[in-house]
């Protein structure tokens, strides 16, 4: 008979609700042991044999719970239970998290008595500033009491306004500074010139409505129709229609397009929602941040703000009253939080964050313009995925070694007709120029029923992913395809470009493309147009292509694995379908086996092979990609230096061994376990060294000290994630204070997110109170981060020896006299009998 206990924190945003409770009950049923849970916050107790009692225990987000397991099989039951609460419990939130992306604040910020509200995080920086509430956008549309001029008169009025609107938009397109701005204005142009839109407006006029009424009616019609759409992307197009209708109303009433409230000082602005034009009209010089109470994440306004690097948060309930009362606010777009009148402690938290980012930048800086190589000098090109020139510029300044994937379809979307040869050539040529000697791979348009482009007029399909898309529609839209090939050939004059075909399924498709390329070349020769040569490549994203790499190799120069589609097709799992989300995972051994075959087949024919798609950008799967031995990975620009840094720690042979084990694994969970477990072996760190000893640190609180120590561990690549480790440390702190009473505190944790056992040391410039009720002050903080594993290893004894030392008076005295990082390092080394 044995009895075990487990303490955990409930990470479910909506608390322990019915589904996870039932799962816990199902788990408990497998064992004889009796399991009892206690919610340490409320003191409620529940039995794991009843889902209802678990729900009644009122376990809310971040409540700490204790489970007591008693019975002959308690040991295994506990292990299983632990695995469940650590790994699977959170999964019950997946849908909520994907839909809402509710932020969770790190404890070092959360604990600071914030006046705040949460919105949806979109990613990006934080910014502090003076709050400014923009006035309600609808007020100017109420001032239009124009006299009715009869059907013909109103018709004239409306058509005149519509024409003027198109002129205005076109003018704005030429003035636009950024690609994003241009493309959104193009989309507006397309909407404004839409025949159905016009017909609807005119219909209301024929019914005897005034022009302004027709516009309102039309807006109402589209709003109702789109607002009930399942697809959030469509829902957010309402804002664009509203934008156009507002502008039409203004034109009819002869109001100026300027907003009433022009910004005059640097401000963080709040609005219920903003249309793209209203956003463009704001003075960007003073717009430091944007809070939208009701906006959606995919709205064009958000895209515009992001393109300008302006932090935004959306869907922030209660933001207005918070902003109206505050004299200063902090908007953190990464965490999705708006903090009013931040205290000194909050400001210090952000100073710490700034320092952390600076250090992180310093860590990655040397890798930006360095070739990516493993520790054993194996090359892995790190290229970038781009959608246009702006991206290319950013990618190269972030250290891209080439463009691995130029998604050209973005140039074709949200407009009324395909860009012609000259327009495309202009863009490709500009990208080539930025690239200099670095390679560029341009993927020809990948559109279809899943990525609709209006002027292709493709009918809806039952299975768009298995239907008429990408290379399959080139023969029907031959002129568009030929234009693109021609533009790429022309842009290759100065340098050979890669031309990559998406969705290749058979050899005959490649032969057809080759025939078209040579036709285009003949035409260009006949016309006397100069062109260069292209390297022909294909996306490997259809399983059938994987089986004929040897045959395809006769006709293509290179391959690039499109992991997103390929994984969907191989696993027969739609990655957007939550109910089968578990299946869609590029770490599934079956998928990895296929990749291994593809890479081996391509390399046996001496063909270059890369990987684009999400898998390549996932820094945690790097060891797998290095193990596969691909020539290149193409990733998003902001990942490049971090990936290069990580590659430099990996050993290609060890990665291959890891891959071999992954190929034999049962499922993707086992593979991700393997990845976690082997990372510490792939990039080992000593128990401590100078990089995690910090002397004379200016610190005012326990929160700051713990954050600093965890940041030090993160910066030295010793832990996978700062916030999770902080949570684990605080969980322990809340159980009982770790102040030893002799000036030393030892916050600690055990977690599988710790890559290497670590002891970090922080000596404070001034002693602090660890807990408000403490009478003894703390001037030295050790963090002990232990790697959780099933079998305790030999390094564990050092933690025990350190613990014993820390209560020996003469050790503490000698430690106190060590005033430099070097002497601390030396003392610990000697006392713990660590070699070298």
């Amino acid at each position: 008979m044995s009895c075990k206990e487990l303490i955990f924190t409930c990470e479910l945003i909506h608390g322990l609700h019915a589904r996870p409770a039932s799962a816990l009950v199902a788990l408990a049923k497998e064992f004889e042991a009796v399991m009892e849970l206690e919610n340490l916050r409320t003191g409620f107790k529940a039995s794991l044999s009843s889902a209802l009692s678990l729900i009644a225990a009122d376990i809310a987000y971040r409540d700490t719970c204790k489970v007591r397991v008693e019975g002959s099989d308690a040991q295994i039951a506990l292990k299983k239970l632990k695995k469940f609460v650590l790994k699977e419990l959170k999964g019950f939130d997946t849908k909520v998290l994907l839909d809402d992306n509710l932020p969770s604040l790190p404890p070092s910020l959360r604990r600071l008595n914030l006046k705040h509200c949460l919105g949806h995080s979109i990613g990006g920086r934080w910014v502090a500033g003076i709050p400014f509430c923009l006035s309600d956008q609808s007020h100017y549309s109420n001032r239009d009491n124009l006299a009715y001029t009869g059907i013909a008169g109103e018709r004239m009025r409306l058509l005149g306004a519509l024409e003027q609107l198109l002129v205005n938009i076109r003018k704005n397109i030429t003035k636009a500074e950024l690609d994003t701005e241009k493309s959104i204005l193009n989309a507006h142009f397309m909407l404004a010139s839409d025949q159905e839109f016009k017909d609807r407006l005119l219909n209301y006029i024929s019914e005897g409505k005034a022009a302004h009424e027709s516009i309102r009616k039309t807006l109402q019609y589209y709003s109702e129709k789109l607002e009930t759409a399942e697809n959030s992307y469509l829902r957010e197009r309402v804002l664009d229609i509203q934008d156009l209708c507002n502008q039409l109303l203004q034109l009819i009433c002869n109001h100026s397009v300027e907003r009433a409230d022009a910004l005059t000082t640097p401000s963080i602005c709040l609005a219920d929602n903003l249309t793209p034009s209203q956003f463009l009209a704001l003075n960007k010089k003073f717009l430091k941040g944007l809070v939208l109470e009701n906006g959606g994440k995919a709205s064009h306004t958000v895209l515009l703000a992001q393109a300008r690097g302006i932090p935004v948060i959306v869907g922030v309930e209660g933001a207005r009253s918070l902003m109206e009362q505050a004299t200063r606010v902090i908007l953190d777009a990464k965490l999705g939080v708006l903090i009013a009148d931040p205290s000194e402690k909050v400001d210090r938290y952000y100073q710490q964050e700034a320092e952390r980012l600076k250090m992180l930048e310093r860590k990655y800086q040397p890798f930006i313009h360095r070739e990516a190589k493993t520790a054993d000098q194996k090359r892995l090109e790190v290229g970038a995925n781009i959608i246009g020139l702006d991206d290319a510029v950013q990618a190269f300044s972030s250290g891209a070694e080439g463009i691995g994937l130029f998604r050209t379809e973005m140039m074709f979307m949200e407009r009324t007709q395909a860009p012609d040869m000259d327009e495309q050539y202009g863009v490709y040529e500009a990208v080539v120029k930025v690239a200099g000697s670095r390679p560029v791979i341009i993927r020809t348009i990948d559109v279809g029923a899943d990525k609709p482009v209006d002027y292709f007029e493709l009918p809806e399909e039952q299975n768009p992913f298995l239907g008429f898309r990408a290379v399959r529609l080139y023969s029907e839209f031959l002129d568009i395809f030929k234009d693109q090939v021609r533009a790429i050939l022309k842009a290759s004059r100065t340098k050979s470009l890669g031309l990559m075909i998406p969705m290749v399924t058979t050899v005959s498709e490649v032969l057809w493309v080759r025939k078209i390329i040579s036709e285009v070349k003949q035409e260009m020769t006949a016309e006397g147009v100069h062109f260069g040569d292209v390297r022909l490549g294909i996306m490997v994203e259809v399983p059938s292509a994987c089986m004929i790499i040897d045959q395809l190799s006769k006709y293509v120069d290179f391959f690039s694995i499109g992991s997103n589609d390929l994984a969907q097709y191989v696993l027969a799992a739609d990655r957007c379908n939550d109910r089968i989300g578990e299946l869609y995972n590029y770490l599934q051994p079956s998928f990895l086996r296929l990749l291994d075959k593809v890479v081996k087949d391509a390399q046996s024919k001496n063909k270059w092979i890369g990987v684009c798609g999400e898998m390549a950008s996932d820094i945690n799967t790097l060891p797998i990609l290095v193990g596969l031995g691909v020539d290149e990975i193409s990733v998003s620009a902001n990942q490049i230096s971090a990936i290069k840094e990580r590659v430099s720690h990996l050993n290609s042979l060890q990665c291959r061994k890891l891959l071999d084990s992954a190929l034999d694994a049962q499922d993707c969970k086992e593979v991700s376990e393997l990845l976690k477990n082997t990372y510490s072996e792939l990039a080992p760190r000593p128990l401590f060294d100078l990089s995690i000893i910090c002397i004379d640190y200016d610190c005012l609180s326990r929160e700051e000290a713990i954050k600093q120590l965890v940041d030090m561990l993160y910066l030295d690549s010793r832990i996978a994630d700062s916030t999770s480790i902080e949570e684990a440390v605080w969980l322990r702190e809340e159980f009982a204070s770790t102040n030893l009473g002799n000036g030393i505190a030892i916050p600690h944790c055990r977690s599988d997110l710790v890559y290497s056992h670590s002891i970090a040391v922080l000596k404070l410039a001034k002693p602090i109170q660890w807990l408000p009720q403490d009478d003894s002050y703390v001037d030295t903080v050790f963090i002990l981060a232990v790697r959780e594993s099933d079998t305790p290893d030999s390094h564990m004894k050092f933690f025990a020896s350190l613990a014993r030392k820390l209560i020996e008076n003469d050790f503490v005295e000698r430690f106190r006299q060590s005033v430099s990082a070097d002497s601390v390092n030396q003392l610990l080394r000697t006392e713990l009998k660590l070699n070298n």
Partner: protein, 99 residues
């Protein structure tokens, strides 16, 4: 007196070993004999044997979690304290033994 003791804390990294150290120090100062079993991240160390149990007068459990083999001490007087107590006031813990 002959004392058998067990120390164990939730993470088993530090406090388990500190409490052991403190109890040994205090016991020696007070003239007691003591053997401390630690149940930490490295598993059970310095395990209390059948012989230890036979010869013991009292058991001290400085623990924050349920420990393995608590029933071993059924025949003894058991003093149970939180780990922190054993670290901060080991003498006070031993004072509870009486004489």
């Amino acid at each position: 007196m002959k004392i058998v003791a067990v120390t164990a804390c939730p993470t088993g990294i530090a406090h388990t070993y500190m409490a052991a150290e403190k109890l040994i120090e205090a016991a020696h100062n007070q003239g007691h004999e003591i053997k401390v079993e630690t149940q930490g991240a490295m598993g059970v160390e310095n395990q209390i044997t059948e012989d230890d149990l036979q010869g013991a007068d009292v058991a001290v459990l400085a623990v924050d979690i349920t420990v393995d083999g608590e029933e071993r001490f059924r025949h003894l007087r058991v003093i149970k304290v939180p780990v922190a107590e054993a670290i901060r006031n080991p003498n006070a813990v031993l004072d509870q033994l009486g004489s």
